[in-house]
């Protein structure tokens, strides 16, 4: 259709450099758009503007020193990044963490998922033109950050997990405050949904935009909400349970059509499921130590390991090769955003310029993780 239009109207293709300094590219993503009028003929993501050599950096840091660097990859979800890395090292060393530590990790990871989804919702809505949800959602994110601050002292780059457990026990009254927060949150989510879910403009902008069917989604290696939005029930927490995710009940929401609207619904439902998980974790929270015995100098045995967690954006995997020394020989991160971003040209082709921002928003990319 687009081709036909181009030939009929004699349109000339224009190249637009979308980013890296652009309000809607969520960082420093650059898209080379070929447009015919407003219609996208081709889109080529150009990445690397935020490359910090994190993987190389891991090779000269000892294992515990790597953890703060993982914070800075997906800076909207530091806790799950930590969880992936320490999980990989623990798997390599064969350490079992105490149950209390595992539960604390799960609570932190789910809070982090909530916070990351909140950022996604805020920026996604902002990109599509609704300014107000941004402020309502960030109100709640602030409360999550306050909880993080009370627990570990940092708000964004948490550095909150250590090899063998978590560094601190929960402070006094934290569980009550956390419970109060998760009791209140579903009401707030309803409030946000009232602004968007049934809104005809929101629907017009998201339904049928950036469609990717299940087969293609798997072929592109999508994970996380973009995959589940296409109707594939795949969640690392369910299929390869880590920590104690097999002990809590939760559902995996899936979409039908694989469009932006379905992914929106999936994420909204995931937030409710996260609340459910946190509630169960708080109920089940066992007593005991929060740190397993680990040697003072961490020297994993020679070998390699792959361990992945379900980050807010998809499967976050760490592949570590150890030569038996104090530093990893090689670390390779499987970032969900990087893989998800690959599907962007496929998803925007034939759509309009305005849909590009909707699709960038729905993929929920973080450039810190893509470029590392």
């Amino acid at each position: 259709m687009a081709d036909l239009q181009a030939t009929l109207l004699g349109g000339e293709e224009m190249e637009v450099s979308f980013g890296p300094q652009h309000p809607a590219t969520h960082g420093v993503l650059r898209l080379q758009l070929k447009v015919d009028g407003e219609r996208i003929v081709n889109a080529k993501p150009i990445i690397g503007y935020l490359h910090r050599g994190t993987e190389k950096l891991f090779e000269r840091e000892t294992y515990p020193q790597c953890i703060p660097h993982t914070d800075r990859m997906d800076y909207t979800a530091a806790a799950t990044n930590n969880q992936g890395f320490v999980g990989a090292v623990e798997k390599l060393m064969g350490i079992t963490i105490p149950p209390r530590a595992a539960y604390i990790r799960m609570i932190l990871a789910e809070l982090q998922r909530l916070s990351s989804h909140i950022i996604w919702l805020a920026t996604h809505a902002l990109d599509i033109g609704a300014v107000t949800p941004f402020f309502y959602t960030f109100q709640e994110r602030e409360k999550i950050l306050d909880l993080f601050e009370e627990y570990c002292g940092a708000r964004l780059t948490l550095n909150t997990m250590r090899i063998g457990g978590v560094p601190w026990d929960l402070p006094e009254g934290w569980t009550e405050r956390c419970r109060r927060f998760v009791e209140e949150l579903p009401k707030k989510i309803e409030d946000w949904e009232r602004l968007l879910t049934n809104n005809r403009i929101w629907k017009a902008r998201t339904v049928g935009v950036g469609v990717i069917d299940a087969e293609k989604a798997i072929a592109w290696g999508l994970t996380g909400p973009p995959l589940r939005g296409s109707g594939v029930q795949w969640d690392i927490r369910k299929v390869f349970p880590y920590d104690h995710y097999d002990e809590v009940e939760f559902d995996i929401p899936i979409g039908k059509n694989g469009d932006t609207y379905d992914r929106y619904l999936v994420r909204m439902e995931e937030m409710r499921q996260s609340v459910r998980i946190i509630r169960q974790c708080l109920d089940k929270l066992p007593d005991g130590p929060v740190m397993a015995w680990v040697p003072k100098v961490i020297r994993p045995p020679k070998g390699e390991v792959y361990f992945s967690v379900e980050g807010p954006k998809g499967e976050l995997g760490y592949y570590i090769v150890s030569d038996g020394g104090v530093t990893p020989y090689r670390v390779r991160v499987r970032p969900p955003c990087f893989v998800n971003l690959q599907a962007l040209p496929e998803m925007v082709k034939g759509h309009l310029v305005a849909d590009v921002v909707a699709v960038i928003g729905t993929l929920d990319i973080v450039l810190g993780e893509i470029d590392r």
């Binding site: 840091e61 515990p64 020193q65 790597c66 953890i67 703060p68 660097h69 914070d71 800075r72 107000t132 309502y136 109100q139 602030e142 306050d146 601050e149 009370e150 627990y151 570990c152 002292g153 940092a154 780059t157 550095n159 560094p167 601190w168 026990d169 929960l170 402070p171 409030d191 009232r194 602004l195 968007l196 049934n198 809104n199 005809r200 403009i201 929060v290 740190m291």
Partner: protein, 176 residues
């Protein structure tokens, strides 16, 4: 199209609920914190500026080794002294510098310290400076005096005997 579908498309109930929500918030309590006048108190574990206690430091250099980006610089020499007629040696610290402008506040130095001589729970977040190379480079005197970085009201400086708010394992430090 069914009658209901037609009515739903003509009467913009979906838009009206949105308007109602924002209208409701128009009269809600505002969340803004007027910063210079109102300040939020950081949590007890908040990782802000460094606290450093010279008396407790036994120059083990664990913090220096733990730091992922190597911003802690320690220099020391051995000194002989006499206790009850016996000669002993001890390490005396010459320099204890932290390049705070590069710090990422990961808390690994504080965790590595066996004597809790360095800690980050000073409830200070106003560490901005007009010039970073000098104003944010802290040697041991500056670390103890907190020159240029104001602690949160009510927090004692290390020189006044201020101590970390919590130590490893979550036990609260006893008040002295």
């Amino acid at each position: 199209m069914s009658l209901w579908g037609f009515l739903a498309s003509v009467i913009p109930l979906d838009l009206l609920t949105g308007l109602k929500t924002t209208g409701k918030h128009l009269f809600a309590r505002k969340a803004t914190v007027q910063y210079p006048e109102q300040r939020l108190e950081p949590a007890d574990r908040f990782r802000g500026m460094f606290g450093y206690s010279l008396e407790r430091c036994n120059v083990c250099r664990a913090c220096e080794k733990a730091c992922p980006i190597g911003i802690i610089h320690i220099e020391s020499h051995w000194e002989e002294y006499e206790v009850e007629g016996k000669k002993r040696k001890r390490q005396v610290i010459d320099r204890y510098d932290i390049d705070v402008k590069r710090c990422m506040f990961c808390n690994l130095c504080a965790e590595a310290c066996p004597t809790e001589a360095v800690w980050l729970t000073t409830k200070t977040y106003e560490a901005a400076a007009y010039e970073r190379n000098h104003a944010l480079y802290f040697d041991k005197e500056k670390l103890m005096r907190w020159d240029g970085v104001k602690p949160f009201p009510g927090v004692k400086t290390p020189a006044e005997g201020g101590l970390p708010y919590f130590s490893l394992g979550g036990e609260k430090e006893e008040e002295q």
